[in-house]
């Protein structure tokens, strides 16, 4: 249960290795009695996120042990594995970022509705703002996820459950190692701060950093010819 300060007592991080996910957890107020369930490839709640039956099993197992106050869904794939073909990369990203994550949202929100409280934080991306030549495949998976999450958040109104969306820009982490940092890039620790703020904020969407909200607005307003020029840096 949340305590009087609205701090969670039981948290699940889906994507135990996610630097952003771990950073978010580290930004929440410390409490010895807090239980953080790390859902990853190993451990008590081992999960291959692309396995439908495993998703169902793990979500059931988590909720059967007690109420969950906060679920952070931090699984994601850029789809830039050089050993794979572009098509395979695209399919893998679609599977993890959209199909599996949306299914997790569905399973978790359903259980949270039954306990009539809880918060879900899902990590979207700045990339979903507008297709760019270099990452529209990845962007499209996040755009689909983001779209679904916004719809789900609306239906959760009045159920006691809330859903928040974090839209990070370029985050310097293992996932983006070797890539050229984009403007307004942040570290995963900084991103964690935005994530922790998103959980407590009243709004649905939190950009990380906040200025990306305006950058996205500009991006979307630019005529295609201009946009192509500036996105081909």
């Amino acid at each position: 249960m949340l305590n009087g300060f609205k701090n969670p007592g039981r948290i699940a991080l889906i994507g135990a290795k996610s630097e952003i996910g771990l950073a978010i957890v580290s930004q929440l107020p410390e409490d010895k009695s807090r239980e953080v369930i790390l859902v990853g490839r190993n451990g008590e709640y081992a999960l291959d996120v692309t396995d439908r039956a495993a998703r169902e099993r793990v979500v059931e197992a988590i909720f059967d042990k007690g109420d969950l106050d906060l679920a952070i869904i931090a699984v994601g794939l850029l789809g830039n594995d050089p050993t794979k073909s572009p098509a395979d990369n695209l399919l893998a990203a679609m599977d993890v970022n959209y199909l599996s994550t949306v299914h997790l949202l569905e399973l978790i929100s359903d259980r949270m509705k039954k306990q009539a409280h809880g918060t879900i934080l899902v990590i979207s991306s700045f990339a979903q703002a507008r297709p760019r030549d270099d990452n529209f495949g990845y962007g499209s998976t996040k755009a689909g996820l983001d779209f679904y999450a916004r719809g789900l958040a609306s239906t959760l109104n009045g159920t006691g459950v809330t859903l928040k969306i974090l839209r990070p820009g370029f985050v310097k982490s293992k996932m983006t190692e070797g890539m050229k940092a984009a403007p307004f890039s942040i570290t995963s620790q900084e991103c964690g701060k935005y994530g922790a703020r998103a959980i407590r904020s009243r709004g649905l969407v939190m950009w990380a950093p906040s200025i990306l909200k305006y950058i996205a607005f500009i991006f979307k307003s630019l005529p295609p010819s201009v946009f192509r020029k500036i996105s081909h840096r």
């Binding site: 249960m1 949340l2 009087g4 007592g9 410390e30 409490d31 039954k114």
Partner: protein
């Protein structure tokens, strides 16, 4: 989020028990005014017992059979007409009989009368099976229900002893004290001579613990009371803004400290429930809300107050209403809060930065010194401290399990603190 079932008869409750299949359980509630999460049951059903509002006073035995939904204020009004009064009443009249049992409430007379359960002869309780039982102080189930936070069954009605009055007044003497040690000294000295003792303590400014000690005995001279049913002024909605800050509290406390001292007869109900004069006073804390922190500590461990006051001063956390009181003996209920020692109650705006962390640290010192917090007011204590604060909890759990083997009674607090 939970659904609320208003019930008016025993049969309706039994129907509810047999049909509810949510898995989130049921929780009886009264006025739903608990400070913490004791009266919340997310995803489950709240059983509203307001319709159980009968009061039957027997003049001969000076007892009353009272429905679970009757408030202390209503019982007082009914009893006063017959020159009787409940021997234990809390600082607010807005507590139901069911709530009074669930929290084993206490009042200004605790050093003499003990907690509420000490004047209760019978609890009529509905168990999870739907069976209705009459419990007396001879039954372990009686003591599991007292202070049991509504987790042992639904209190339907209780039989309670009443105190015979000579008048509707309290003879009050107030003393201004300069610091905590004067306050402690005066309260200790006054226990033998006064039925009601309590002190308002100023926890702002220099945090020395200055305040006003209020002592009272049941009076002999009647006083005129303004229409007792009337509710006082109501605080309007303040647009969710928090008006409690070190400056406003300091100003208020300065006025309160300097206000003329009472000396003489005061109406009983007014003396017992000073805060009930203003409805919705909680709005002054705005949307972020407030927490009430109440703990008890043994006599002789007063050094913990210095530590607390220093910490609060460093946080610039000013308390609007600090109350210090010396408790008498504990009841035998495993989860009852009051026990011999000092109890201090503080109100804080949730918006005070660092408050949560500070209180968490202070809880540990409190436990190390043998103290505990009052669960009915709690919304934030760590679950692992509960067995240290309430060492008889396992005994309570064992009895509770026999009364509710399927775990029907649930609350958010029970989930948060792993009580059951």
């Amino acid at each position: 989020m939970s659904s609320r079932a208003k019930v008016a008869t025993v049969e309706q409750i039994q129907d509810l028990l047999s049909t509810s299949k949510s898995g989130r359980g049921l929780l009886p509630i009264g006025l739903h005014r608990s400070y913490g999460d004791s009266a919340l049951n997310s995803g489950g059903i709240l059983v509203d017992l307001a319709a159980f509002h009968g009061i039957n006073i027997d003049m001969q035995s000076r007892t009353a059979i009272v429905g679970a939904g009757v408030t202390i204020a209503a019982l007082e009004r009914a009893a006063l007409v017959k020159s009787l009064f409940p021997p234990v009443v809390p600082g607010t009249g807005f507590v139901t009989m069911g709530g009074a049992i669930a929290a084993d409430i206490h009042g200004k007379s605790h050093h003499r009368t003990g907690s509420f359960s000490q004047c209760v002869r019978v609890i009529t309780l509905m168990l999870a099976s739907g069976e209705v039982v009459k419990l007396t102080p001879k039954d372990p189930e009686f003591w599991a229900t007292v202070g049991g936070l509504g987790l042992t069954g639904i209190v339907l009605e209780i039989e309670v002893e009443l105190h015979a009055l000579q008048s509707n007044s309290v003879d009050v003497v107030e003393h201004r004290v300069k610091n905590l040690s004067e306050m402690i000294e005066l309260l200790s000295r006054s226990d033998n001579d006064y039925e009601h003792t309590v002190a308002w303590i100023d926890l702002s400014g220099d945090y020395r613990g200055r305040g006003v000690v209020s002592l009272g005995n049941y009076g002999t001279a009647p006083v005129k009371v303004k229409e007792s049913e009337s509710v006082g002024p109501s605080l309007p909605s303040l647009a969710g803004k928090n008006f409690i800050n070190p400056l406003s509290v300091k100003a208020f406390n300065e006025i309160w400290y300097r206000k003329p001292l009472k000396n003489g007869a005061v109406a009983l109900t007014k003396y017992m429930h000073p805060l009930d004069g203003i409805s919705n006073w909680n709005r002054i804390y705005g949307d972020t809300g407030f927490l009430q922190y109440q703990f008890v500590i043994d006599i002789g461990r007063e050094e913990i107050f210095d530590r607390l006051f220093r910490g609060l001063r460093d946080l610039r956390a000013a308390s609007f209403l600090g109350v210090l009181k010396k408790f008498g003996n504990a009841s035998q209920a495993p989860l009852s809060f009051p026990r011999s020692g000092w109890t201090l109650t503080l109100d804080y705006s949730m918006a005070v930065p660092g408050l949560e962390k500070f209180l968490r640290g202070f809880d540990e010192e409190l436990v190390a010194a043998g103290g505990r917090v009052y669960l009915i007011k709690d919304s934030r204590v760590s679950p692992e401290l509960i067995p240290l604060m309430y060492p008889q909890i396992n005994q309570w759990r064992d009895i509770r399990r026999t009364m509710d083997p399927t775990g029907l009674w649930q609350s958010d607090q029970a989930r948060r603190l792993h009580l059951c």
